[in-house]
């Protein structure tokens, strides 16, 4: 009957629409990265975070193992507090790992690159990364370059 046909067509239409949304979620966007399947958090304090944004990747040797969960300013230490969410399976990072803020390409987005140290103990949840390297700020570079030039 007519009602049956409508129901069928509308049902198919809605399914198609939801399917499209699904496709957009899975194939097109990074929603899969959202599932904070178990992560543990580690904090680092930086003098200058440059253009680092939350959700920026956290990598070790270029392989992404987590993301920046939160960025705040600590008025007691006068430094930026960056919270890193690292996937639980990567629990081998030594206590003396260094966190540096790098730029992808020349003018790309910034991310946190971890350089493992040699300590036998590993970073656990709520630990602090002791060694940090701030982002390179273009103005400082230019300033340094110009002073160097001037001193010649």
């Amino acid at each position: 009957m007519q009602v049956r046909f409508f129901e069928l067509a509308v049902g198919a239409f809605v399914l198609l629409g939801i399917g499209a949304l699904f496709y957009l979620a899975v194939q097109v966007s990074n929603v899969t990265d959202y599932h904070d399947r178990d992560t543990y958090t580690v904090t680092g304090y930086f003098d200058n975070i440059g253009g680092l944004k939350t959700r920026a990747p956290v990598t070790v040797s270029g392989v992404r193992i987590g993301r920046v969960a939160d960025i705040r300013y600590d008025p007691e230490r006068f430094r930026a507090e960056v919270t890193l969410a690292i996937r639980s399976e990567h629990d081998y990072l030594p206590m003396d790992t260094q966190a540096a803020i790098h730029t992808a390409g020349l003018l790309g987005e910034q991310y946190v690159a971890l350089e493992p140290g040699g300590d036998t103990e590993t970073l656990q949840d709520s630990d602090e990364v002791m060694f940090t390297q701030s982002a390179l700020v273009l103005e400082n570079l230019i300033g340094r370059f110009m002073t160097n030039m001037g001193s010649d």
């Binding site: 409508f6 509308v10 239409f13 499209a20 957009l24 097109v28 966007s29």
Partner: protein, 260 residues
């Protein structure tokens, strides 16, 4: 000189009157929404005529837009040696802007004008009056189901448009122009954020659906009950709805992507 000012003033007052009437109409429709749940069959039939029937034009347009995006994107990116970023360019353009906006414009043209014409005709042939005299509230039986149907169909259509567009972009970018297929999708995924990009596109299409359907249904309701009146109302639906979509897009984009 004063005539010109007077006519501008008059036009403004008229516009305000119409807007007020449209607003009252909207309130009445929203008040009648409970009927949607109780007599779902009415809404279902409307979703079919408004949503399902628009599928063809949306899918075809989405495909073409995606393909053109890939073409144009490639031509520009290749100059910077950044052809691999094509996937991201196509996806972001579609999901953030072209999906919601082009779908809304097409919807206004196809489904919106059909709604206006249908309701205008019902008004002209006194069907709405007859319903009132039979103690049936036309807001519940006629306007509310159509309103809900449009409002629900739009986001779905926009998602389908974007998804098909991405596939079209793949066909041209990877199939025709030689972009690496892995790079197409991986670049896309790293650049397209679910929250910021996809969801804000969905929010846009929901807002557009609301506004376009409101305009279409109101214009039909408000049309002069003559054949000339109906044709004028139908044209106005397309024009006003299109302008509203573009204007809202500007505002929403500023809100969503500017501050964030």
């Amino acid at each position: 000189m004063t005539d010109a000012i007077a006519s501008v003033g008059r036009a403004t007052i008229n516009a305000l009157v119409v807007f007020g009437r449209a607003f009252v109409f909207l309130m009445r429709v929203l008040a009648s929404l409970d009927i949607v749940l109780r007599r779902f069959g009415l809404t279902l039939a409307e979703v079919y005529s408004v949503g399902v029937r628009s599928l063809l034009i949306i899918i075809v347009s989405g495909l073409f837009v995606g393909m053109v995006l890939a073409y144009q994107g490639y031509i520009t990116l290749v100059n910077f040696g950044a052809a691999e970023a094509l996937g991201g360019v196509v996806a972001l353009s579609l999901v953030r802007e072209l999906g919601p906006v082009v779908t809304a414009l097409l919807f206004a043209g196809r489904a919106g004008s059909a709604l206006t014409a249908e309701l205008g005709l019902m008004k002209t042939t006194e069907q709405l009056s007859a319903m009132e005299m039979m103690a049936v509230n036309p807001y519940r039986r006629t306007f509310a189901p159509r309103f809900v149907a449009g409002f629900l169909s739009m986001p779905l259509l926009a998602a389908i448009f974007s998804a098909v567009g991405v596939m079209g972009g793949y066909l041209v970018g990877v199939g025709l122009l030689g972009v690496d297929s892995g790079a197409y999708f991986s670049q896309m995924q790293s650049v397209t954020d679910w929250n910021e990009d996809v969801l804000s596109g969905v929010i846009k299409s929901v807002v557009f659906g609301f506004v376009v359907t409101w305009i279409a249904v109101f214009q039909g309701f408000n049309a002069q009950p003559t054949s000339e009146g109906i044709s004028r109302a139908t044209t106005q639906t397309v024009v006003v709805a299109s302008l509203a979509v573009l204007g809202l897009d500007f505002i929403l984009t500023g809100l969503m992507f500017g501050a964030g």
